[in-house]
Subunit: 153 residues, 2 copies
């Protein structure tokens, strides 16, 4: 990692994959890697999640499943029908493919500001799940993949 | 990792991203992570690479750049115009997005056979670069991402 890194880290914590049928894909992952199917859970409702997409509060939710690999987490995401970065990706690119790679950061506000200054706008944010929050940054134009910033208290 | 894992590993060695202009995207990654632009190199010609796509020898090549992150390698891939798994992904999904995740395996032949037996066919293979070889397995239907197997002597 260079001193001029925007994120202060180059540890890729997570790969997020958009799917249409999370039960089916989670079962396929479990079978393939010889592990149990992890819990499949809805993201929180708006009251708790405070999800904002392109600056507006949204009811959008997704079902999530997490597979713990040796060096990284694979997140399966099945979006609901409401507008979100997940739904938009599904509509633009079809099922499958990696929606984002995630980094755990400190000082998220400053990083969001510095990325927005470089034309990588905040596209969706939410929290406060278990004292943490996330921000998806639209770095697709530059880096050809969306980055997710994760910050925990 | 479970005992019944197909791969014998759950270490994700690499994330491969398809791009249209590798010079531009490699520069953007270098700027973002505060590192030097790595060498950008063409894959070998057929005589050396012995590239096969869907069972047939092909002249297809790609320009590659590798970024070493703390826990994983990010590979940028700019395919040429010839038919390949890279080109097909670009045409099906557009630029950007993750084409594959890669695992370093032992006993590639047996793993390829066991995956083909589960309807995850070998889609492209090549080698022998520096005593190594690769196989892209079409696990997209099941896992919503292509897997690459890497084997080194």
């Amino acid at each position: 990692m260079g001193e001029k890194s925007f994120l202060g880290t180059d540890f890729v914590a997570q790969i997020g994959i958009i799917v249409k049928d999370i039960d089916k894909t989670a079962q396929a992952f479990a079978d393939f890697f010889g592990v149990d199917v992890p819990p499949i859970k809805w993201t929180d409702e708006y009251d708790k999640a405070q999800t904002h997409y392109k600056g507006n509060p949204v009811e959008s939710r997704a079902k999530l499943a997490f597979f713990k690999m040796e060096n990284i987490q694979i997140e399966l995401i099945e979006p609901d029908e409401n507008p979100s970065t997940w739904r938009e990706f599904l509509e633009d690119h079809g099922e499958g493919g990696v929606h984002h790679i995630a980094f755990i950061v400190n000082g998220m506000k400053q990083i969001v500001a510095s990325m927005e200054n470089e034309n990588m706008p905040l596209v969706q944010k939410g929290g406060e799940y278990d004292g943490g929050r996330y921000a998806y940054m639209d770095s697709f134009g530059q880096l050809k993949v969306i980055l997710e910033l994760l910050e925990n208290d």
